[in-house]
């Protein structure tokens, strides 16, 4: 892994840059990644640009135009209050995407250092951290999320925190096992012999070498975070109305199935495609970056 002739910092940086460059090429060459990106890119793009491209205000009601069929002024039809479904679907992606990225981000921020410390330091710390994480892992994901929402109250922010708590142990475990593998390498022994600090060894030496599994894990978690967040909203425990949200829209659409099925179809399609795209991208990244560890992962 590293020849130490040219000074460690530049070697490490060059290696990292090369790996990133090659990695990106490979990512686009991988069919699953390419399809995943092709699905996700337009969704993310239109969601971010919702304020610019949405034809109507998503919370504006049009009395007399309830349950309008797609076409005409309302391209995808309207809901039970005569609100434009296209605008609501576009805006509705915001909470899902924010939730997916924020929850995955927070769980990485906590999980990565925990996993590094646990794996590198070992001993009592490892034992303690792992016991605690095992306890969290022994509770089914949605049940744990519900418990935390019950504790904090229902809102988008609390849903982010709840999902982050659910996924932190999973990320920490992946990081820990990767750390254990890298810990035995020569260059870690060399860094220890040079008298580097433990913090430097963890973040400067180990972390750059275990980025692949972390990226794979993170990308898979984003999809699942979106899914579980949508479930919370569906149950009325996530994003609160009148803010548009895919999960909440589907829950209300269920009461109006006899009047219109478009109301159900659009948010379902957007949500399904988003999660499908994330899963494809995650699996593709795993093929490219971490081909050995093809174990099944789920919430």
């Amino acid at each position: 892994m590293g020849s130490q002739h040219t000074g460690r910092r530049s070697t490490a940086e060059n290696a990292l840059r090369d790996r990133l460059k090659n990695g990106l090429c490979e990512v686009f060459a991988n069919r699953r990644c390419a399809i995943g990106i092709a699905i996700l890119a337009p969704i993310v793009f239109t969601t971010v640009l919702a304020p610019v491209i949405a034809p109507h205000n998503p919370t504006e009601t049009h009395m007399g135009a309830q349950f309008a069929a797609p076409g005409g002024e309302f391209l995808l039809g309207t809901d039970h209050l005569g609100r434009d479904l296209l605008s609501r679907v576009l805006y509705g992606g915001r909470s899902s995407l924010v939730l997916g990225f924020a929850a995955a981000g927070v769980s990485m921020l906590v999980g990565v250092p925990l996993g590094l410390a646990s794996g590198y330091l070992g001993g009592r710390i490892d034992e303690g951290v792992m016991r605690l994480l095992d306890m969290l892992l022994s509770i089914p994901s949605l049940l744990l999320a519900l418990l935390i929402v019950a504790l904090l109250g229902s809102s988008l922010l609390n849903a982010v925190l709840a999902i982050a708590v659910v996924y932190t142990p999973r990320i920490a475990r992946v990081v820990r096992s990767s750390t254990l593998a890298v810990k035995q390498e020569e260059f870690i022994k060399a860094a220890e012999a040079r008298g580097e600090s433990r913090v430097y060894i963890c973040f400067g030496e180990i972390l750059p070498n275990i980025l692949s599994p972390i990226i794979v894990e993170g990308s898979i978690r984003i999809g699942f975070a979106i899914l579980i967040g949508a479930s919370l909203s569906f149950l009325g425990l996530g994003t609160q109305p009148p803010t548009p949200d895919w999960g909440y829209m589907i829950s209300i659409a269920r009461d109006h199935l006899w009047s219109t099925t478009w109301y159900w179809l659009w948010p379902s399609l957007w949500l399904g495609l988003t999660v499908f795209g994330c899963n494809l991208l995650g699996d593709g990244l795993q093929d490219v970056l971490d081909p050995q560890s093809h174990v099944s992962k789920r919430p």
Binding site: D134, L146, W258
Partner: protein
């Protein structure tokens, strides 16, 4: 005491420790929640005097650790408190609802195994064919589409405008409506849960079977002149299906989440709906009991799966694989 017994004991102790830890967390909810239990029960009538009286009645004025021990003792002896919202003993409520959810979960689990393992084997035997692509593709869609989308889709197709074959939701007890009426309420929820959970089992069965079919001993069996059917069903399946046992236990975890959402979709009055209602209305005794019970069942299911796995695979040693 041999190594297996020691392993079993160790695992049991871990499960109990996890349950104790969880019970502390669950208990803390009552302490941490803004507005205490007495205020929640009284609602509009929460004058300071009323709250003080009720707190005394409920024993909320005692130190936390005394309350905790009291609560645990009550839980163990079946006294799970009274639901704020339903005004009934939590134990009765949870048992009635729990049995309904158990129907749903057990039937779904059987359906998941019955569908996904044959599908995975077929996909492996005809790997790289159109059939394989179809099966794996469908399984992939199953993971990506949340259960409330599939469930509502089934409602559109089979309980609404298109074909009104099944009831749109609700539940009829066996004793009240007979088996047909009872089963008609279960069909759509079970299909939804099955579709949600087959994906991983199909994929794993497929990978394991492909690997096994390429192994030395399967080749030997083929060279012996056995027909392909015997090779696959008698020789390969046995080994190829080992990891699926563990995955099945993991599936119990997704099934718990799935059941909660699916019950909401189909207005099925089971434990999941009780739990969501308890979270929404802060019905703490119900919340505590349900979470502990369900998490406990899940932990024991996992333990059971691990034990089954070690039982089926004699190569595993108990000492080192305690995690």
């Amino acid at each position: 005491m041999n190594s297996f017994h020691r392993y079993l004991l160790k695992r049991l102790v871990y499960v109990l420790l996890n349950l104790v830890g969880l019970s502390v967390v669950v208990f803390c909810i009552t302490v941490v929640l803004p507005g205490n239990a007495a205020e929640t029960i009284l609602g509009r009538y929460a004058t300071p005097e009323n709250v003080a009286t009720l707190e005394r009645e409920l024993g909320l004025h005692r130190p936390h650790h005394v309350q905790y021990l009291d609560w645990v003792a009550g839980f163990v002896t079946g006294d799970w408190g009274t639901s704020f919202r339903h005004n009934r003993p939590v134990f009765d409520l949870v048992v009635t609802r729990g049995i309904r959810s158990a129907y749903l979960a057990v039937i779904s689990l059987v359906a998941i195994v019955a569908v996904s393992i044959p599908a995975g084997i077929i996909a492996a035997v005809y790997s790289e064919s159109t059939l394989d692509a179809g099966i794996t593709g469908l399984a992939y869609v199953g993971i990506s589409v949340p259960e409330f989308v599939t469930g509502t889709g089934l409602l559109v197709l089979f309980a609404g405008p298109v074909w009104s074959v099944f009831p749109a939701g609700g539940y009829t007890p066996l004793s009240a409506g007979g088996p047909v009426e009872w089963a008609s309420h279960l069909v759509l929820p079970v299909i939804t849960l099955t579709f949600l959970s087959i994906a991983h089992l199909v994929r794993l069965t497929r990978t394991e079977m492909i690997e096994t079919l390429q192994s030395e001993y399967v080749r030997t069996a083929r060279l012996k002149g056995l027909d392909e059917r015997t090779v696959v069903l008698k020789h390969a399946v046995r080994n190829g299906l080992l990891p699926t046992v563990t995955l099945l236990a993991m599936n119990v975890g997704y099934l718990v989440g799935g059941v909660v959402v699916v019950e909401e979709v189909f207005a099925y009055p089971g434990l999941g709906r009780l739990l969501v209602g308890a979270v929404l209305h802060r019905d703490i005794p119900v919340l505590q009991a349900t979470v502990l019970l369900v998490a406990g069942i899940y932990m024991f299911a996992n333990l059971g799966a691990d034990l089954l796995y070690t039982y089926f695979d004699p190569r595993i040693s108990y000492g080192s694989s305690a995690r």
